[in-house]
């Protein structure tokens, strides 16, 4: 009996058979009942088949590529760890970049994984469904590989062991948590604009440059390799986000104002989230790559302008916050560092005043603002520390109701004044860091009245470590925050005099001297 051997399928045919051909319309229940979320945001989709798959990857090929990347990644991680790679980084201050990263980023990758798998469930078209499913798996992989790459440092340095506990409790991690809580409780299309477009496309380089180039510049081969391993995933994520925007805009002209509002909202929320990343570039990396201001100019102003020029044919305008971010790029990293420096007891990482040559670098990179507004106070702090009077602001912060940043940014046009905005909703006052956050609140107040603000929760007695007797005579709400946060005392305080500083110097000495 002769068997007829058909020729191997081409890539395109194979992709079609493995994705779109496997999809079907439901008959026992109407489609809109099976996919209820794609309609309620007001986005009109007439023909899901018009979705252009931005990359044609089937699941079998996906596993193959990812497995190959994993093998390389873990081989390098092993080699780096076995060779005491942690002693080859530029300076022990670098470990604090990892600590801030560990608390702020992997938990958000996990939220992204959850978000994309929810969106994948809701997308009617097979093309976006498969792409979102793959992105969900990618995000999960990033969450795990980031933690793995840093876990070796946890054996040697303080403050990394409770990041998962701290993620939903610490004051400075609330901004990122709120960012993803907001996105994941939106509908599927808003989630795609929030994470797929505004974050992954418009702002992702600002995140990549400090962490990955920063790791490379500072001798951290582990974090650098995680970054490279994620890079081809990120390229897919960017094209997915952009395709989703184009798809919505091509489907119906009524979608434009909705999409524009989401672009405005999420570009701003992402910008606020990046203030602490910028601070890492300007203050925390011992060997700097470029200033945050320069990164903002290249990746946001120039690349972002090109992107929005491209989207202009759909009627999309540059995000409303564009001009304000350009003004703020000269300020926010300095304002953020001061905000962390003054809380030495309340962060599981160390802070410090930059060395004189580093202050000179900042003066050179920020000629319009650094000497005028920020250098004098940093030098004042330095003198106070040397005199045994290191700054330690023990008060609880005021936060923005929307972005949950502490309210620390300046009034546009006046760097000496703090920016405050407020509104009253159902008889209660709400405060914001900016016009943009105020507008986001006023568009959907029902959502943002629920914001978790750590200092407020503490004052309500909701942040108590186990075993606290709230009926005790001397009970004061929020008095035991350090225990509630599970703060390792060795991880707090100034870098100067820390155990990390001492150990690193000693171990490096052992590694290089007889």
């Amino acid at each position: 009996m002769d068997m007829k051997v058909s020729k191997k399928l081409g890539l395109k045919e194979r992709y079609t058979m493995m994705t779109r051909d496997l999809a079907w319309d439901t008959t026992f229940q109407p489609m809109d009942k099976v996919f209820p979320q794609v309609g309620y945001e007001g986005i009109k989709i007439h023909d899901w088949d018009q979705w252009e798959d931005p990359f044609r990857l089937t699941m079998d090929a996906y596993w193959k590529y990812q497995a190959e990347k994993e093998r390389k990644l873990y081989a390098i991680l092993d080699a780096f760890n076995q060779n005491n790679g942690h002693l080859s980084v530029t300076d022990a201050r670098y470990m604090n970049v990892l600590k801030l990263f560990l608390g702020s980023t992997p938990p958000l990758e996990l939220m992204a994984a959850r978000g994309f798998s929810m969106v994948a469930r809701q997308m009617v078209g097979a093309g976006p469904r498969v792409a979102c499913m793959m992105q969900s798996v990618d995000e999960y992989r990033h969450f795990q590989t980031q933690i793995h790459s840093i876990s070796n440092y946890n054996r040697f340095y303080n403050g990394m062991d409770e990041f998962a506990h701290q993620q939903s409790r610490m004051w400075y991690l609330s901004d990122g948590k709120s960012f993803f809580d907001d996105a994941i409780t939106a509908g599927p299309f808003e989630f795609m604009v929030a994470i797929g477009f505004a974050f992954e496309y418009v702002l992702t380089n600002i995140l990549f440059v400090p962490f990955i180039s920063g790791a490379a510049y500072n001798g951290d081969m582990a974090a650098m390799t995680v970054g490279f391993s994620a890079q081809s995933d990120e390229a897919r994520h960017m094209t997915l986000g952009l395709e989703c925007i184009k798809f919505m805009l091509e489907q119906d002209p009524d979608n434009l104002p909705i999409v524009q509002r989401w672009i405005d909202k999420w570009t701003w929320r992402g910008t606020r989230k990046l203030a602490s990343v910028g601070m890492m570039m300007d203050y925390m990396l011992p060997k700097r790559i470029m200033s945050f201001k320069e990164a903002w100019e290249i990746y946001f102003e120039q690349n972002g302008s090109a992107l929005f020029n491209d989207l202009a044919r759909y009627g999309v305008k540059v995000p409303k916050c564009f001009a304000q971010t350009i003004e703020e790029k000269e300020h926010i990293t300095h304002q953020s560092w001061i905000g962390f420096y003054m809380k030495p007891d309340a962060c599981p990482f160390h802070t410090w005043i930059p060395a004189p040559d580093e202050l000179d670098w900042l003066s050179e990179k920020y000629p319009n603002t650094f000497d005028k507004y920020y250098r004098p106070v940093l030098e004042h702090f330095d003198r106070q520390e040397k005199a045994g009077n290191r700054f330690n602001n023990k008060t609880q912060p005021m936060n923005c109701q929307v972005c949950v940043s502490t309210i620390k940014f300046n009034e546009p046009g006046d760097p000496m004044e703090m920016c405050f905005r407020e509104t009253v909703y159902k008889g209660e006052k709400f405060h914001f860091c900016s016009d943009h956050c105020k507008e986001i609140f006023e568009d959907e107040p029902e959502k943002y009245v629920q914001t978790f603000i750590s200092s407020h929760a503490a004052l309500q007695g909701k942040c108590e470590p186990e075993g606290t007797d709230i009926n005790a005579h001397d009970y004061r709400p929020g008095a035991r925050m350090h225990a509630y946060w599970r703060m390792d005392k060795r991880a707090t305080g100034d870098f100067n005099g820390s155990e990390d500083q001492k150990n690193f110097a000693e171990w490096r000495h052992q590694a290089t001297k007889n």
């Binding site: 905000g339 405050f420 209660e428 029902e446 004052l459 007695g461």
Partner: protein
């Protein structure tokens, strides 16, 4: 008008409604043009708290780290509640000074502009 769209009724209480503070209310305090403190601080206090306690205890504890604190001319200080000028009476309570839940008190010290006049 709200732009919120939902699939089901959506009605959740505010996280920071005054009832959640068991007889206290939130108060934010900022020293204008002294951004060394990064952001205002927040307190939860009974409305009967005398305003003097805000100055003598809470503001002094926090702000006296700044060299300008000792230079303040108390006869010249001005106050805002949000964006509204007001003149607090030290001996009256928060409530009697018209200070409600989640009010932001802004403390202005004319002539003092922070370290080297930088606003910090």
């Amino acid at each position: 008008m709200t732009l919120l769209k939902t699939l089901a009724p959506y009605d959740f209480p505010s996280s920071d409604a005054v009832e959640n503070y068991k007889g206290r209310q939130l108060l934010y305090v900022n020293w204008e043009r002294h951004r060394m403190f990064s952001r205002p601080f927040v307190l939860a206090l009974p409305p009967e708290t005398p305003f003097a306690e805000i100055i003598d205890k809470h503001m002094t504890d926090c702000f006296s780290y700044h060299p300008d604190w000792a230079q303040i001319d108390w006869s010249a200080v001005r106050w805002l509640n949000g964006s509204q000028p007001f003149s607090p009476d030290r001996d009256k309570s928060l409530a009697d000074n018209g200070i409600g839940h989640k009010d932001l008190i802004r403390f202005i010290t004319p002539g003092l502009d922070g370290i080297a006049g930088s606003g910090y």
